[in-house]
Symmetry: C2
Amino acid sequence: MTTRLSDVAARAGVSVKTVSNVINDYPHITSQTRAKVEAAIAALDYRPNVSARSLRKGRSDFIALAIPEMASPYFAELGAAISRAAKKRGITVLIDQTEGESAAEKLVLDGMRGQLIDGIIFSPITTAPTKIDSAGTAKPLLLLGERPAAGTFDHVAVDSVKASFDATTHLISIGRRRIAAIGVGGGAGTGAVRRKGYRKALKAAGLPHDPALELAGTGYHRPDGAASMRELLALPEPPDAVFCFNDLLALGALRTLADAGLSVPDDVAVVGFDDIEDGRFHSPSLTTISPDKEWLAENAVDLLLERISGNAEAARRDLSVPYTLEIRESTAG
Amino acid sequence: MTTRLSDVAARAGVSVKTVSNVINDYPHITSQTRAKVEAAIAALDYRPNVSARSLRKGRSDFIALAIPEMASPYFAELGAAISRAAKKRGITVLIDQTEGESAAEKLVLDGMRGQLIDGIIFSPITTAPTKIDSAGTAKPLLLLGERPAAGTFDHVAVDSVKASFDATTHLISIGRRRIAAIGVGGGAGTGAVRRKGYRKALKAAGLPHDPALELAGTGYHRPDGAASMRELLALPEPPDAVFCFNDLLALGALRTLADAGLSVPDDVAVVGFDDIEDGRFHSPSLTTISPDKEWLAENAVDLLLERISGNAEAARRDLSVPYTLEIRESTAG
DNA sequence: CTGAAAGCGCTTACAG
DNA sequence: CTGAAAGCGCTTACAG
């Protein structure tokens, strides 16, 4: 059979309590006792049973990360950063792909998977903010991405309005006047918030706002960006710049521009959002909003862990992720 | 407090055994009893405690997927596919990033994390095959990626020698004669196996084998591919084609070629390996070996689950993943 | 089918 | 510091 704590205790000639104390790094243990126990653990190749521990403690040191899809580069990079941050703190991350399904998102809001996980970091996509805020989740929940300013849960995100304002203003500063937006959407999601920043920048510069230049599309992947760009090129008066609401859309748009034989940035300048590795190596390389993903990961995990260990009462917190505008070839010849 | 099984039993007016039977879908339950129990579960919003169940059953329905890095597109796509395949079978996947550290890989070979997971799908990178085969892992282990034909563990992978032969032969068939290889390595890893197929194809076509055209590089990311391509272009007699041992290397190489003002495929044709989404949308789009990732995921999960439920004695199995050569712009003008 | 009970392997008051 | 015991919430023989 598997070795248990009591086997270790027997071999070391101490009580189970003492072994438990050593494993959990409790104080008041003489170094000789500790050495004896550690020798026994090594000799028996003992490892504690996680299920038993979490059943007893009511805490598993597992958290869930619920994201739309892990194969999408931004979420893959984010997941990697969050896993790394959690591991540093002795926590394991379970990644849950919701695939944009509302049933899967509902499960997340429920609290997920019985009692195994201690808390959840959730990047919602289909569920409406009001529904999220009224959820009676069983576990501490931290939200990522665009949210209304007020809400019930802790929240970590880039200030998308400001970042989108910056991105658009950059296009204006290099002399563009017909600036399109790809990825526009309704509600309070990414597509709405980033459009707000885009429109604000046009207004601040005294540029007219042309609804024909705002493209909705069905998703946030390369094919969507490519299709939207084709629509824009078919316009009687095509744009001289495009702000894409994420890098994947921008990479799709660049593909369409290359196919059309247009030069970037001379004919059309392109800006993205996310700073995925892909865009840095693309030819031309992609100008983009670069959120500090390490910062995001560290702070999201810390905030959730604080919430897990007790102060459920503490006031809701809303952190703004630092970002920079990375100017690359797609806007700077 | 949290609702327990016994609360459900009390409310439904049945024994805990019956509730357990309903939850675990055991036979011999009348539909009325089932309905009563399900009503009680719904009314109390009961969900079973995973820790308690796995402590008792000695099985958690969790498996681990240990990969070098989840932010790398190939592994991100693979992880997504494996998560999906596992979810279909009621299994949750824990993703473990080894980051190419041998300590992390050793932990995987140990059996990982106490008793929580039931088995492991492992894509090793630093640990030597002989060391892997001699590992006394505590849990069923399934290996992904290049392995010597013989071994102790179940194995699922593309026949890399054959696929590399096909990729190289394709370059020969479009008239290339100085074909370089990027990503070459020693031992029994990817870099060695794919070189084998590459050399075999040259030999079969009666082409000379020039060691100067075999580039090793330090890793399998875009910057490595870009650097290797720069080396190749600096050669007195640069190549007219490159077979890159993964798509990321190929995308880096394409970037260098674009910077050098060379035309692809006219001046240099490029083939990759993996078929990540990135390469499909790149301009030019990337010709590549496309392994069937869904097939890989489904079969890896099934094989591991079979091993977990009992037949530990069954003969070791070695599955070959179907693949196709996707011919795109980088080799077809 | 049911009911009462043991036990999975821990942690944690409790009495010393 | 130690030792004996209870209990976390399940599942599963066991006797009916």
